[in-house]
Structure formats: C-alpha cells, structure tokens
C-alpha cells in the first residue's frame, strides 16, 4: 500500500501548491487592483487617516482636516461653507467630489508623484504623511460681494484679474454646505446627498463654469462688435440701421429692438451708440454683414470652444456651427443657440481690459508642501490675442459709454471709470429673462473683470434687467477689489 500513499503525497503537494499560487495571485499579482476598488473600505480608511492638506483663501483655510477620535482619524471641515462650496467641493465617502477637492485630490491627499521624495523621507523619518496645502487666487471680499449680491436668487458670478487670469471670485447660487456631506455617518451623508440632488435649483451644480450654460443675450454684442471692428468694415462711428426692428431675409419674423422702440429717432445709429443703448437691429445687421465665420472666429479667439481646466473643468461655450442669415442675426445679439458660461463672459471682459490679450484663468496660486516648500506656483499664460490693442481700446471706449450714459449706469463707481455691458437673455417665451452684466475697472488700468448672471432677473422684451439687477452686483464686486 506504500506506492499509492506516496502518490497521494504528490496530490497533497499539488493541492498546497495550488493554494500558494492562489494566495500569491490575491496578495501580490492582483493586490493593487483589489486595493484600488472604489468599494474597498480599507483603502478609504487609509486615505482618511492621512491628514489632508488645507485649501486657503488668502491665509485663511476654507477647508481643513481636524483630528477626531473615530476610526477615520480626521474630519474634513469647511469654513464659510456656503460661500466657497463650489470652490472646495467636498470630501466624503463618495471620494473627493467637485471643486478643488476633486481636481487637486492627488496633491491634497499627498499621493501625487510631485510629493514622491517627501514620502520617501517620511518613510525614514517616521513623520506622519500629510497632504499639500492649496492656496487659491480668490479674493474673499470680492467673493462675498458677489454672493451677497446674488443673495437668494439663482445665478453665478466670476471675477478675473485681467492681467494674469487669476480667478478672484467664483460664485454659484444656490449653494450648499459641504460639511453635511463630509460627515462620517454614511447613512446621514447619503440622505443629505440625495436630498441635495433632488433639491430645487440643483445646488450641487457649479453654474459659474459647468452648469447647463446660459444664452448670453446682449453681453454677446461685445463679441459681435469686436468682430465688426476687426473685420475692418466698421469703425466706432460707422452708421447702422437703428429702427424699431430689422427686416430679416428668408423669414416673416423681424428682429425687433427691445420694447419695439427705435434705437434712435433718425433710424440710423453709430456702432458705438448701438452698444451704448444695446440696439438689436444694428448688431443684427452688423452680424449678417461680417458673416457667421467671422463671428465664430472672433468668439473662438475669446476662448469659445476651448476645454479649459482652472483646474476644474470648464464647459466649453459655443456659437452654433451652422446658421442661416436670420439665425446669424439672432446669434449676433446673443440669442439663438449661443451658449456661454459666466467664466467665458468674464474672459471676454478681461480680454478687452488686457489690451486684447486673454489670459488663461486659474484658481490655484500655489501648492505648498507640509514642509513649507513650494511644490507648484501659478505661471500666468496667454490663452490668445482676441483683438488688437487698437480694437480693444475702441471697445473699451464704447463700454465706458454704456456705463456713463447707456444701459449700465447702475455700475458707475465714484472716481473710477468703469467699462461694461448689460444683457438680458430670453430663454423661452413667457419666462423672465436672465439678467447679465460684464464689466472691468478701472478702464485705463484694469484690476478686475467681472461677469454676473442672475437667472430670471430681467423682464422679457426689456433691456432693463441686466442694468437693474446684474450691474449693481458687478459694481459691488469691483468696489470690493478696488477699495483694497
């Protein structure tokens, strides 16, 4: 009976060999896959246990990790939560969601390759690994002015430093409290998250850069004016039709001025005056004259169609690819299918302010390791030259007129020359229009460029919305910046 016992021992060796292989597969070969699974609670706990870096506005943390006694070791807390919710995003059981928490997750969590040498030294010195601190470009005063201005309404506001592209304010209303999503009670967090998903006005959406996109309305006339001036066919003094409406080819529908009142008594109006009073027929005509390609090209130079990351992803704004003449006339006044983010319109204002050069917007000023070494530092870069300095100067002059004597007088600031443009964008019949305002100041040496949109803030078929509702918010934001 010894021979079969010997063979049996070979079988036993085979069985154990199979176990050695299976354990090796799990613990070595596929370990990284298993550890990387989103439902892996051990990995989640391990990332929670590492002290996540802070997010700063100025020197004040708006997101920080506080030690706790529970198994997660640290609790993420947000100060001024409502004000900065879309800037920070939140850090929860769903991972880092939205805002800088998500887009700078690797640096904040300390897992970035840029922190490699630091991690190695942590290993030897026994120092607790820590994430890097992210310093934003935001100006708390401007942010607060924008948020207070929009108040309970729905809307968004963006402020840029025209010379660098630094984002000074990034506001989207309604907002939410990220603290309610960063708790360690999964059931509660989930309930809060579900109710926010269903909430009126979709507070989790960042309207400033990634909402459903808005029709820009008359603020887009600045782009049309830029295209017209660049084409060489027009100067600020070129005369255009300024009646109560413009007869459009191919259709029975005319392009009416708001309120169906003539832009000027004579029925003719200069390009500059057309912008000052926001004359629809004049821009409809100018748009058809220069053509869809020129308009699209001009828009693209301001950044339309670019997939920007600031570092959050900005939804590209768009001018329709195919348009017939009447549609082109509509697009020239910011209607039809022109869709923009407030960020894009702020870039338009900033580009004109910066002598025609659009700077790439950025939200992160610097990233600082826990040993205070600078890991990353913002380097302002040119995105494009949207218009020549001469055209920019002409546009600035026209926009100053808007604020001095036109539809945007509510944005005037004592002792400062402000350039701006109102907009009232219709989005469906019978609904109140979106109120828009873009501006920059001081006009001769711009320190801030702003775009504000207040949803349903205007009255249909009237140009008063932008000037009445959005311009004062822009004014408050500019004042906040200039008073520093």
């Amino acid at each position: 009976m010894n021979a079969p016992v010997r063979r049996l021992s070979f079988l036993v060796a085979g069985l154990f060999a199979a176990l050695l292989v299976s354990t090796t597969l799990i613990q070595y070969v596929f370990a990284a896959d298993l550890n990387g699974r989103p439902d892996n609670r051990r990995t989640l706990l391990a990332t929670y246990a590492r002290e996540r870096g802070e997010i700063l506005v100025g020197q004040t943390p708006i997101a920080k990790s506080v030690p706790t006694d529970d198994e997660f070791k640290f609790q993420r807390t947000y100060d001024d939560a409502d004000l900065f919710a879309h800037v920070t995003g939140f850090y929860s059981f769903y991972g880092a969601v939205g805002g800088l928490e998500q887009s700078e997750n690797e640096l904040l969590s300390g897992s970035s390759d840029k922190l490699f040498y630091r991690r190695i030294s942590d290993l030897f010195t026994g120092r607790r690994p820590q994430g890097a601190t992210v310093e934003t470009t935001l100006d708390a005063a401007v942010q607060k002015a924008a948020s207070d201005g929009i108040g309970d309404a729905r809307g968004a506001a963006v402020a840029l430093d025209p010379k660098t592209g630094a984002i000074l304010a990034l506001v989207s209303h309604p907002s939410f409290d990220p603290n309610t999503l960063a708790g360690h009670d999964l059931g509660k967090v989930d309930a809060n998250y579900q109710s926010l998903l269903k909430a009126d006005g979709r507070p989790l959406v960042d309207r400033a850069i990634a909402g459903d996109l808005y029709p820009p309305g008359s603020v887009f006339k600045v782009v049309t004016a830029a295209a017209a001036l660049t084409s060489g066919k027009y100067t600020a003094d070129s005369e255009l039709p300024g009646g109560a409406s413009l007869d459009l080819p191919l259709t029975d529908t005319d392009l009416p001025n708001h309120g169906n009142v003539p832009c000027s008594p004579s029925g003719r109006i200069t390009l500059k005056q057309a912008l000052v009073v926001s004359c629809n027929p004049a821009f409809g005509e100018a748009g058809m004259e220069i053509g869809a390609d020129a308009l699209r090209e001009q828009a693209a130079k301001f950044g339309f169609g670019d997939a920007l990351t600031v570092p959050m992803r900005v939804t590209p704004s768009s001018v329709p690819a195919e348009m017939n003449e009447p549609q082109l006339a509509q697009a020239s006044i910011g209607q039809y299918d022109v869709r923009v983010t407030p960020m894009q319109m702020a870039m338009v204002a900033a580009g004109i302010a910066n002598k025609g050069v659009v700077m790439k917007p950025y939200l992160v000023q610097s990233v600082i390791g826990s040993d205070l070494s600078v890991i990353e530092s913002a380097d302002p870069t040119e995105l494009s030259e949207a218009v020549t300095p001469e055209v920019a100067a002409t546009l600035t002059d026209m926009m100053i007129g808007v604020v001095q004597e036109g539809s945007g007088t509510r944005a005037q600031i004592q002792g400062v020359s402000v350039a701006g443009k109102t907009g009232t964008a219709e989005h469906g019949t019978g609904r109140r229009a979106h109120a828009w305002f873009i501006s920059f100041a001081p006009a001769d040496d711009p320190k801030i460029a702003v775009a504000v949109v207040v949803e349903d803030g205007g009255t249909a078929n009237s140009e008063t919305g932008g000037g009445a509702v959005a311009a004062p918010i822009a004014k408050a934001m500019m004042e906040a910046r200039l008073s520093e």
Binding site: M1, P4, L8, A13, L15, F16, Q27, L34, L45
Partner: protein, 460 residues
C-alpha cells in the same frame, strides 16, 4: 537486511521539547507584538497566559514521553504553533471588534484548547494500540454517518450562513461533521482493510483502464449518495467534498487501483453538476465563486469580496499584527481567519502557515508509510489526507480556488468542535506514529521502510 545496532534508537522527544519551546516562544512574541501594536504596552496577562500555554504543551509532551515515546516529534510542535497563532489572531479580532477579554472569543477558544489537549492526552493514555479501533469499525461507521446527517434532524439541527452543518443542544452547538471525519476514517480503514482484496479484483478493461467488477461498486455508490445528500440537504459543499474525497483516497490506497479515482471523480463531478442545475443555492455559491465582484454577487453576499480585499491590503509582508482591519471582514476569527492572517502577516505569513500545514500532512503520510499493519497505514493516510483536503477546502474557498464553504481551518479557527476533533485526530496520528517508529524487538523482522528512520533534524 538490517544490521544489529548497539545504539539506542532516538525517540526524538528532546527535539520535540526544543521545538515546542520554540513554538510557544513564537506565540508569546506574537502576543507581545499584538499588545504593543494595539495599546502600546506589553499585555498584562502575558506571564500567566504564556506560562499556561507552555504548561499545557509541556504536559502533553510529558504524556508523549510516558505513553508514546517514539511518536513523531514534529506533530506536536506544529500543532502547538498553529493553535497558538490561532489564539492570538482570535484575540486580535476580539480587540478590533471592541470585545472585552471576558466576553471575547479568545478566552473561550483558550478553554476549548485546554479541554482538547486534555482529551487528546486521554486518548493517548487509553488507546494503547491503534489496532483496537479496528474492533469498532462498524460502530464507527454508523456513528460517522449518523453524525454527518445529524444536522438534518428537525429540532437540534440549525442553519448558519446558509449551511445546515450545526447541531444545537441547549446552550451548546457544534459541527458534528468534524467528529464524523475521524469516525469515518476509522470505518473506511477497517472496512477497506477487510475488503481490499475483493475490491481490487480486476473486472472489464475499458480504454486501458481496468475497472472493478460491477458488483463491487456498492460501497462507492453509498458514499457518493451520502456525500451528495450532504451537498444538497445540508448545503455544504466543503463537507461533501471532504468525505467523498477521503473515501476515494482511502479506497485508492487500499486497492492501488487508479480506476477507483476515475470513477470517484466522475461520480462527484456528475453529481455536483446535476446539483448545480437543480438547486438554486448551489448556483448562488458558484456565482459568488466565479463572479465575486459582479453586482449580482455583491448584492447576495460580499463576504468573500471583503475577505479578498483584506488579503490584498496585507500584500507581501502584511500590515503587521494589530495594524490591519480584520474587523472589516465577516467571520474574521472563524471561516475567514486565513484572510485575517493574510492581511496582518502578509503573503509571507500565509506561506508559513500553509507550509506548517503541509509539513503536518507530510508527517502524517510518512507515518502511514512507516506503519506495518494495513489498518494503521490506511487510517494514518486517511486522517492526514483529510487534514490536507480540509485545508484545501478552507483556504481554497477564501482564495477562490473552489466555491466558498463553511469549514474551519484546522487548529486555527475559533470553534470548540473543530479543536476537539483535530486534537483527537492528532492523538491518533501520534499513536500510530509511535507504533511505526518503535524499534522492533525482533530485529530480523524489521522491514526496509521501518529501517529508513524518519529524520527530523539531520545530525551529520
């Protein structure tokens, strides 16, 4: 031919003593390590527990010196180490789950360990010769099959985690399958040693394989039906595989006919396939096994997935004792104790444990080779193989080699019935090995295999 030797044959008891001291030392170190990792202090009960564990091991060692002087010297140290590591890991899971030592699982396991050692010692004292067991062949058979099917009885049988392999009597519950394993090994050994001549008679030859005669197929069919009923009615693939595998392996050893293995594998494969087609619970087990991380499987049960993630977290060298999160795995102190070891001791630690098991089985098979009587040979081979198969079913289950079943890792997992049964199994193996290695009074009758002494530590 053997030569006359004037040197007294080595019993190996001193080697055993040194190894037992080493094993207890490792367990003590693991316990200290755990205390330092979790509370930062040396655990207060270290001296009492360490000395207690040492005392129990040494007491068993003394019993061996007294009653089984020539028993294999490796078996006790290996089991001492496994049992001790199991205790430390169970205590570790207690800590992770926030259980106090008084109502923790570890204390109960410790008491069961002491009881199991006492019973094993008693078996060694009472059972002076393993061949006595042969007298009770049929008693063991009846007992074995009854125990196996006991959980199916209405009042005392209970289902846990989908398997009906427990019986409950008042406050006590145990898995009778563990004890059935020994009874059946005794029965198979006694029965096969009687009938092996008949069973190995050649029948027809098909495809170069000499089949047994049709009339001899009775026993294997009965074993097959019994194991299938365990699979279907107790919903326990592990026990089913264990018993049928044990029977087929012993049948093969007894008859030396490969055809029995072919028939056995064929029968089991066919039976399992039919059960898969016919029974939803078998299909669920297979789904969990093959598509562990599919949404449907996770909805049914994520315990295997959790265990795998725990092992992956351990990686090559483990998180260190007391530094992982075994509490995130279900049944981390029983069915999934292997995952707990994988997490905290890493692949390296798991390999060490698997090698300990392999050594244990190998020593058992070596005992079988060295034994002179057929009954002892069969019994030792059967008991050792049952250990190997149980390890394979348990570790294979948590590492996705085979579908997961509810068996315990021998000596490691928490569970009184498992400890009692496996220590008793150890006692019987020790008894047989004592018999195998004992020098014959009549030198000329010594067989070639008996002469080839089992070397433990090579001394030049």
């Amino acid at each position: 031919m053997s030569t006359v030797s004037s040197v007294a044959p080595r019993s190996g008891r001193t080697t055993e003593l040194v190894l037992v001291l080493g094993a207890v030392g490792i367990v003590g170190l693991a316990y200290v390590n755990l205390g330092l990792a979790t509370t930062g202090t040396v655990p207060p009960g270290l001296a009492a527990l360490g000395l207690g564990y040492l005392g129990v091991s040494l007491a068993f060692h003394v019993v061996l010196r007294w009653r089984a002087k020539y028993a294999d010297p490796l078996l006790l140290p290996i089991v001492t180490l496994l049992n001790g590591l199991g205790l430390v890991m169970i205590h570790r899971v207690d800590i992770a789950r926030g259980r106090d030592i008084a109502d923790g699982v570890a204390l109960r396991q410790l008491m069961w360990s002491a009881l199991a050692v006492a019973i094993a010692a008693a078996v060694l004292v009472v059972l002076r010769d393993h061949r006595i067991l042969r007298r009770y062949t049929y008693v063991a058979g009846v007992a074995g099959f009854s125990l196996l099917l006991l959980p199916l009885l209405p009042v005392i049988g209970t289902s846990e985690f989908g398997s009906r392999i427990w019986i409950r009597l008042g406050p006590f519950s145990f898995q009778p399958g563990e004890i059935a394993k020994i009874s059946l090994a005794v029965f198979f050994a006694g029965y096969l040693v009687q009938t092996r001549d008949a069973l190995s008679v050649a029948g027809r030859k098909i495809l170069g394989l000499t089949l047994p005669r049709a009339r001899d197929l009775g026993p294997i069919l009965i074993a097959w039906l019994a194991s299938l009923s365990v699979l279907v009615f107790e919903r326990d693939l592990g026990s089913s595989l264990l018993f049928f595998g044990l029977f087929v392996a012993m049948l093969y050893v007894a008859t030396e006919r490969v055809s029995w293995i072919a028939i056995g594998l064929g029968l089991f494969g066919a039976g399992a396939y039919v059960a898969y087609l016919a029974f939803a619970h078998v299909q669920v087990r297979v789904l969990l096994w093959l598509h562990t991380f599919s949404p449907e499987a996770l909805q049914t049960s994520d315990q295997l997935a959790k265990g795998l993630m725990g092992m992956a977290a351990g990686g090559m060298v483990g998180t260190g004792l007391g530094r992982g999160r075994p509490d995130l795995t279900y049944l981390a102190e029983s069915d999934f104790i292997i995952s707990s070891f994988g997490e905290e001791l890493g692949l390296v630690g798991l390999f060490a444990i698997l090698v300990l098991y392999a050594l244990l089985v190998e020593r058992g098979l070596r005992t079988s080779l060295g034994t002179r009587d057929g009954f002892g040979k069969l019994l030792a081979a059967g008991l050792s193989f049952s250990l190997a198969l149980q390890c394979f079913v348990v570790v294979g289950g948590v590492t996705r080699v085979i579908p997961l079943t509810g068996l315990t890792a021998p000596f490691l997992s928490s569970g009184g019935s498992s400890l009692l049964a496996n220590w008793t199994l150890l006692a019987i193996l020790l008894r047989i090995s004592d018999h195998a290695r004992r020098p014959l009074p009549d030198e000329s009758a010594q067989s070639a295999v008996g002469e080839a002494r089992t070397e433990v530590v090579k001394l030049s």
